[in-house]
């Protein structure tokens, strides 16, 4: 009796999660449960702070990171992004309007016509190819730079992903399943690292919480020595799990981004970011 109770308690979120999965899932209840879970786990960390990734769990690392952000290595990339943008500005303004600060906050969104999630990077490349321009490469380079320029201009605005149709709910659920389901040779899931063990260390790597995962992308990583998109990172984590990564901008990763962005609703956009 006592034992079953304990197991039920330690299952916590999962029990609630699977039962909502069985019935029609309500993304807002799901998001709120996740926020509650993180608050219960670390009552001293305010929700706003989740935009800073793993650094919120270590005063030392936070200090080093703040020092790095004073002369951030991504400034040249923002300038390069602006130059790319201005080179094709007539095309971009037709797609996105003239206010560069208003673009990033609209993504990702669920497009009812195509019944697909549209990401910022996806929209940039569709805008280009629709106008007869060449698409950028997906994971780094010009695309990441333009994305960084647009994120930079939108800093301080809030993530505000809307779900109010069955199609959008289905995309959220599909992304959530990828996040939760163990996969690959090591039998790991995104949730095992970024929900259940957020704040713990894998070797010397502090694990970041899912909340805020999308706020600061694209990211300049010391390890990459350049800027990379969110989907580049997803691919890296899937490889570390010894699982086959999906392609950048595949339906799977767009749904995953949609899910991760939705649960980060209300957090401030602070991209591009710097990470180890």
């Amino acid at each position: 009796m006592k034992k079953t109770l304990l197991i039920a308690l330690s299952l916590g979120v999962t029990v609630a999660a699977t039962s909502t999965l069985a019935t029609a899932m309500d993304p807002e209840t799901d998001r709120q449960q996740l926020v509650d879970y993180f608050q219960a786990k670390n009552p001293k960390i305010a929700v706003d702070e989740y935009v800073n990734g793993a650094y919120i769990y270590s005063a030392d690392k936070m200090q080093q990171w703040e020092a790095a952000e004073e002369f951030p290595p991504y400034l040249d990339a923002i300038d390069a992004g602006e130059a790319h943008y201005n080179k094709d500005i007539a095309t971009y303004e037709k797609c996105f309007g003239t206010d560069v600060s208003a673009i990033r906050p609209k993504y990702p969104y669920f497009d009812e016509k195509t019944q697909q999630v549209v990401t910022l990077e996806g929209a940039i490349n569709s805008c280009r190819t629709d106008a007869g321009l060449k698409a950028y490469k997906w994971k780094k380079g010009a695309l990441a730079q333009v994305s960084a320029y647009l994120a930079y201009n939108a800093r301080g605005q809030k993530i505000n992903v809307k779900i109010d149709t069955d199609g959008a709910r289905a995309a959220y659920e599909a992304g959530r399943n990828i996040y939760i389901k163990p996969t690959g040779q090591l039998n790991l899931s995104c949730a095992k690292c970024h929900t259940y063990n957020a704040g713990r260390k894998a070797r010397s790597n502090l694990l970041s919480p899912i909340l805020g995962h999308t706020t600061h992308f694209p990211v300049f990583r010391a390890k990459w020595q350049n800027l990379g998109t969110l989907h580049r990172r997803y691919g890296g984590c899937h490889k570390n799990m010894r699982a086959k990564p999906f392609k950048a901008q595949s339906e799977e990763y767009r749904n995953l981004e949609f899910f991760e962005a939705y649960v980060s609703n209300g957090l401030k956009i602070n991209g591009p970011g710097y990470r180890e």
Binding site: L11, K192, A202, R203, R242
Partner: protein, 124 residues
């Protein structure tokens, strides 16, 4: 003790051992090398990579996702149960959402590699 002296003593100890009970020494050496191999397999990033999640003896930069690998004999009086835990038999997987990979089940390590790792951690 100075190192010369130590060498001498070891040499003596070894030679007497070889002279008197060669069979046990060979067995002991074999066991010792299996334990060494077990340690290498446990620490190697491409094999066990146990340090990703566990503190293990003097291993550098351990993670802290799983419990420290210590007092294994106390925790697992039945060595087979320890093997099963690392292998990942269904009965051994009792912790919900555990990060512990099922090393045998998923073919990450061979049974013989797992035996060596278990021999090693059983000394901790």
């Amino acid at each position: 003790m100075n190192s010369k002296m130590k060498q001498l003593l070891t040499a003596l100890a070894l030679s007497t051992a070889v002279l008197t009970v060669p069979a046990t020494v060979q067995a002991a050496e074999k066991a010792a090398s299996a334990i060494d191999e077990g340690k290498k397999l446990a620490f190697s990033r491409s094999k066990g990579n146990c340090l990703a999640c566990h503190m293990v003896a003097d291993g550098a930069m351990p993670g802290n996702i799983g419990p420290a690998i210590i007092a294994m004999k106390l925790r697992f009086p039945d060595k087979q149960k320890l093997f099963d835990k690392v292998w990942g038999t269904p009965e051994s997987q009792t912790v919900p959402n555990s990060m512990m990979p099922p090393f045998g089940q998923n073919g990450i390590l061979t049974d013989s590699e797992i035996h060596k790792i278990v021999d090693y951690i059983y000394t901790l």
